[in-house]
Amino acid sequence: MASAEGQQHPLGIYYKIWILLFVLSGFSYAVDYFEVQGALRWTLVITFMFLKAGFIVAIFMHAVWERLALVMTILGPPTVLLILIGFMSIEGSYTEGLRFDYMGHDRDAVALTPAELHGEEGDHGGEEEH
């Protein structure tokens, strides 16, 4: 283990991971640029995200070369967040359902895009308040 005398590794591995991070970020951006939607969008974005996060922690932050005691201290506690995420999404869906079913919120509301917003201002000479 390199821990005691510091983390010294060949430069090559840093260059390789650096390039890989660029490629993965490029892929993430491509998902948005080519307007991939739905389940495929979520799968791709989250896969690229975890790959990037994994390489940063493992290589740039040297986690793969650290002793297990330290790695467990770093990665162990955050895993409880998965429970929080699970609880909050269940609770969130329930709240949303209540708002639709009992508070008369519109299920089919559509967001305004910047183009529509600015186009509208042009047509009406900016007389409308937003």
Binding site: Q7, M61, P78, L81
Partner: protein, 222 residues
Amino acid sequence: MSEATASHEGITGLVDDWAADKQAYHVPWGKAMMWIFLVSDTFIFSCFLVGYLNVRITTTQPWPPQSEIFALSFGGDPIPLILIAIMTFILITSSGTMALAVNFGYRKDKAKTFWLICATAAFGASFVGMQAFEWTKLIVDEGVRPWGNPFGAPQFGSVFFMVTGFHGLHVSAGVIYLMWVAFRVKRGYYDDKGFEIVEIAGLYWHFVDLVWVFIFAFFYLL
């Protein structure tokens, strides 16, 4: 140095029992403390992101189209999310220069370490600059406020300012921290102490990049 039996009573014994010869992490103490700080920071950012998840699910108003809101035009048609993509690439570049700085630090190459840390800080500063531009554009041109915006769900503004603001604060603090370390490296402050400090500062910087990976995915892309 490992004594199995308790040697002192009272306050001295209390201090001994808690502090003496019970090492769990075989790394410099500064590195262990930085990691523990980063774990705690993970929980703060996670609270923001889980809060975002919750308001995004519960709001019945449509979520504003991020891809178009963060589009930027360079003369022609607006390119979706381009500024955020550039910011992402800048942060990754800075992470790479920092990783190299750590490596040259351990080789005791002070000149290269100094300049690589300076490059990292410069990339960080340009990231904050772009963020300031992005905030200005959203506040002045698009009328986005923490309590509402013209596009859809008002929670969009509160999440945006809270999450990117807190991250930007981390980047700004990191730039100051890195410059401080860089000048101490240059002055030879660590010649006898060892260059672990560069790795410790690097851990903080990579963490800031790591948080951006999650913000980029969850706030801007999904």
